[in-house]
């Protein structure tokens, strides 16, 4: 039993890693007042970029860096459309997802080796391996925490840092106020446009790492739709976290855990039809959203950043 639970914990954390990166990224973006629904497309694009780079250069570092860059570029497009052009943020985000999904699938069929008909799927490349931490990795149950890949270890660090930055530093204060009340922020001397660009792009960068983790660590390789809708689950997780980076871990554990249990059950050949198991994370998403919304309606002061999804321009009435 203990080895089984240990392995479920291990898979949970691994499955949750990409979710945490993308959720924290989107939390930062939304805290600045920009809603980015392009995550699904951005994750797919960074996943294909990361894998293609790893396949051709053999460098994991370069692969992650390029995935981050791709996430940032797509976020930049969204920032330009929604901040400078003041386009509808929902439409802009959905376009990024449609664009990213299509382009990632196209690139997946073009960036592979000639021997495989230029197709990337089915290929293997360097990947992030689990590194067991001396002494800690052997502890029963808890050992799973210390038997992970480097990107997961990095996430252990990212969560407290992201929380501290947002709630304890003045930059975090500026970020939160811009998303809450851009008029006031402007009048107080903050550069609303600059801050929104900055955190939209920063969010894109974290989403990029999340995408890279999928194709380099969690399920190494490239398959079409490798994200399995994670980009959408992230949107729900942001709400579940109440826009607080430290809570991103809860959502990730919940959804990573459902993934892991489903994974184990399927592997052990249960009677439950696989369709139901596959549905589980999405059904859970809906349930969580309902619960969170009910809870929110009783706690008026927690909720989305007040200016989320709106554009701001000085001198506008």
């Amino acid at each position: 039993m203990i080895p089984l639970i240990t392995s479920i914990i291990a898979i949970t954390l691994s499955a949750g890693t990409s979710l945490v990166y993308a959720t924290i990224g989107e939390i930062y973006t939304e805290r600045s007042g920009i809603l980015n629904l392009g995550i699904e497309g951005m994750m797919l694009m960074s996943a294909v970029t990361a894998f293609a780079t790893a396949f051709h250069t053999g460098s994991l570092l370069l692969a992650v860096l390029l995935a981050m860059l791709v996430g940032m570029l797509l976020a930049l497009i969204h920032a330009f459309l929604s901040i400078t052009m003041r386009a509808n943020q929902v439409v802009s985000g959905l376009s990024i997802t449609l664009f990213g999904t299509g382009l990632a699938s196209f690139l997946g069929q073009r960036l592979g080796p000639e021997s495989n008909g230029f197709n990337l799927s089915g290929m293997s490349a360097v990947k992030f391996n689990r590194l067991q931490i001396e002494g800690l990795g052997d502890i029963p149950l808890l050992g799973a925490v210390f038997n992970q890949d480097p990107l997961t270890y990095l996430v252990y660090l990212l969560i407290p840092v992201a929380w501290y930055f947002m709630y304890k530093t003045k930059f975090g204060l500026n970020l939160r106020s811009v998303g809450e009340n851009p008029q006031t922020s402007d009048a107080m001397g903050l550069n609303v446009t600059k801050i929104r660009y900055l955190y939209t792009i920063f969010g894109g960068m974290l989403v990029g790492i999340g995408g890279a983790h999928l194709s380099l660590a969690y399920t190494p390789g490239w398959t079409e739709n490798i994200t399995g809708g994670r980009g959408w689950i992230v949107i729900a997780l942001v709400i579940f976290s109440m826009w607080n980076p430290s809570r991103a871990i809860l959502g990730a554990i919940l959804f990573g855990g459902i993934n892991a249990v489903q994974f184990r059950l399927q592997a052990s050949g249960t009677d439950i039809p696989s369709a139901y198991l596959n549905m589980a994370p999405y059904v859970a998403t809906i349930l969580v959203l309902v619960l969170v919304t009910v809870w929110e309606s009783h706690n008026r002061k927690v909720g989305p950043p007040a200016a989320l999804g709106t554009s701001y321009m000085r001198e506008d009435k």
Binding site: S177, G189, A306, R314
Partner: protein, 521 residues
């Protein structure tokens, strides 16, 4: 000029244009250290625009600004702050979800990467006690009332080193005590060599607070005067361009049948705390009943239970003899109740819809406007033109979005709609709040006209002069209960003040007239 002071601030030929309006047309302004300048003008005259130019939020199309004789360029609020300019905006610039201290340091470059909130709070308390501005640095803005938020705004500007303090209609939402307190703070600041520009519609405050007066009309500067050399009548005439009567002409009321009856009503506020405790009230046809009280004593809940926007826990509300307790707002509208809400922007209009559409927002179900379930745009326009004409709503066209109108004209739009659809009961909450003298006069006269046409009017106001001149009877509210009723013909402001602080009518009479006064009013 008798003093040899040099102006701390000069604005020369400031012009600011918006699509279709010239908000400021070559306006000049001078401000001297140690003095308070009152800036007057009707709603939409361009006062806020001119001040926003100073605050770095609006970029002027023409003109120059000098600080202590030196020409300066103000491109952003940060520039303004570096020049010692601090503005308390008409709509407070605070972040609700943050604490007072966090709001005060927001955007300050000199604050360290990890702010030492303890030290900052100490500094806030220091200023707070120096100016006698009571503020709790760790309170959240959403927990504060408007008066407290106002204090936070002033304290914030002092903390940020403002030498020139701009106050844009600060007293529109303050109680008389709070406005007195503000006057003291201004006095203390100017005694330290700071200067202030003060925008208000209340003439008594102009006289009490300021050293100089400048009047804007349609974006142009029309008058500069020393406060000591003018009077309220003259200032009102200069603002509006015509004589303004400060008294409302009205005949004695001739009350008929009871049309609105509130009986022993209990209701909770949004936080679930009791807001109305067994409150009763009757309004008859042909009378105006005023509700006096410090804001937050259940007035809002009272107007909202009557209009069906807020649930009644116990008791009943009858309109025209029919029980309408907890019925839907639509049913209550149909029974003849009109409502001028206290928050006119949030509850009175849809800012992004045209004036015409806002005007038919209640009448659109009726026959001429709707034909076979479809709106008739020509009729809507006809109707709107008639309303705009008869209520003198200043709007470029009937298709202009309401949010582009001035506060006074937004209120006239609501008034036009509510009065047109009024079937006997008019519930008006703070109808003249923030309006200029001309618009205020129009709104008050309209209420008297409704009364004379036989409607029952319930007027909630924090302006005692308004209650005394418009209402026929005044009911004082305190903590959700009635403290008693006075006839406005012989009510005294001091009596009202006592009752507003929770003293029952009997006790107040004793205190006011002495114990041997037996009869009362």
């Amino acid at each position: 000029m008798e003093t040899e002071k040099k102006p701390i601030l000069e604005m020369r030929g400031i012009t600011k244009r918006f699509p279709g309006v010239v908000a400021n047309d070559h306006v000049d302004l001078e401000l001297f250290p140690g003095e308070v300048l009152a800036l007057l003008g009707e709603n939409g005259a361009g006062k806020s625009s001119l001040m926003n130019v100073l605050a770095g939020l609006y970029r002027p199309d023409e003109g120059a600004i000098f600080i202590r004789g030196e020409k300066v360029q103000i491109d952003s609020p940060r520039d303004a702050r570096n020049l010692g300019i601090g503005m308390v905006h008409q709509n407070f610039m605070v972040v609700d979800t943050m604490t007072v201290a966090e709001n005060i340091i927001l955007g300050l470059t000199e604050v360290s990467m990890i702010p030492d909130m303890g030290k900052i709070s100490d500094r806030i308390r220091e200023i707070s006690s120096h100016y006698n501005l009571k503020v709790d640095p760790s309170a959240y803005i959403w927990q504060l009332g408007v008066g407290e938020q106002q204090r936070v705004e002033i304290l914030k500007q002092i903390y940020r080193g403002a030498e020139i303090l701009i106050l844009d209609e600060p007293t529109a939402v303050l109680t008389p005590q709070e406005s007195e307190e503000l006057n003291n703070i201004l006095r203390q600041m100017t005694s330290e060599g700071k200067a202030a520009i003060f925008i208000t519609h209340k003439m008594e405050e102009v006289i009490a607070f300021s050293d100089w007066v400048r009047v804007l009309q349609h974006g142009k500067l029309v008058t500069v005067k020393r406060t000591s050399e003018t009077n309220p009548q003259e200032l009102a005439r200069l603002m509006v361009g015509r004589e303004v009567l400060f008294r409302i002409d009205k005949a004695p009321a001739e009350p008929k049948d009871v049309i609105l009856e509130v009986e022993n009503v209990d209701a909770n506020d949004e936080k679930g705390m009791p807001a109305l405790k067994g409150f009763s009230l009757q309004v008859r046809q042909g009378e105006i009943v005023g509700i006096a009280g410090v804001a937050g004593n259940g007035q809002r809940e009272l107007t909202e239970v009557i209009t069906g926007l807020h649930p009644v826990l116990n008791g009943s509300i009858k309109i025209n003899g029919k029980d309408m307790t907890n019925r839907s707002p639509l049913a209550i509208i149909r029974s003849g109740v009109s409502h001028i809400p206290s928050d006119r922007i949030a509850m009175g209009v849809v800012g992004d819809m045209s004036v015409a559409n806002n005007l038919v927002m209640k009448g659109y179900r009726r026959k001429p406007i709707t034909h076979g379930g479809l709106l008739d745009p020509r009729r809507i326009l006809d109707f709107a033109r008639r309303m705009i004409d008869s209520f003198k709503i200043a709007t470029p066209t009937p298709d202009t979005h309401v949010k582009f109108l001035s506060g006074g004209n937004i209120q006239k739009t609501i008034l036009a709609r509510e009065i047109d659809s009024c079937g006997g009961v008019l519930v008006a909450a703070y109808p003249s709040r923030g309006l200029d003298v001309g618009a205020t006069e129009a709104v008050r006269n309209e209420m008297v006209r409704q009364r004379d046409k036989g409607s029952g009017v319930l007027l909630v106001s924090e302006d005692l002069d308004e209650l005394l001149s418009v209402a026929d009877r005044i009911v004082v509210m305190f903590e959700g209960q009635s403290m008693g009723e006075l006839s406005s013909a012989d009510a005294e402001v001091e009596m009202l003040g006592l009752m507003m602080s929770g003293v029952s009518k009997k006790k107040a009479e004793k205190e006011y007239y002495g114990s041997d006064h037996a009869t009362g009013v």
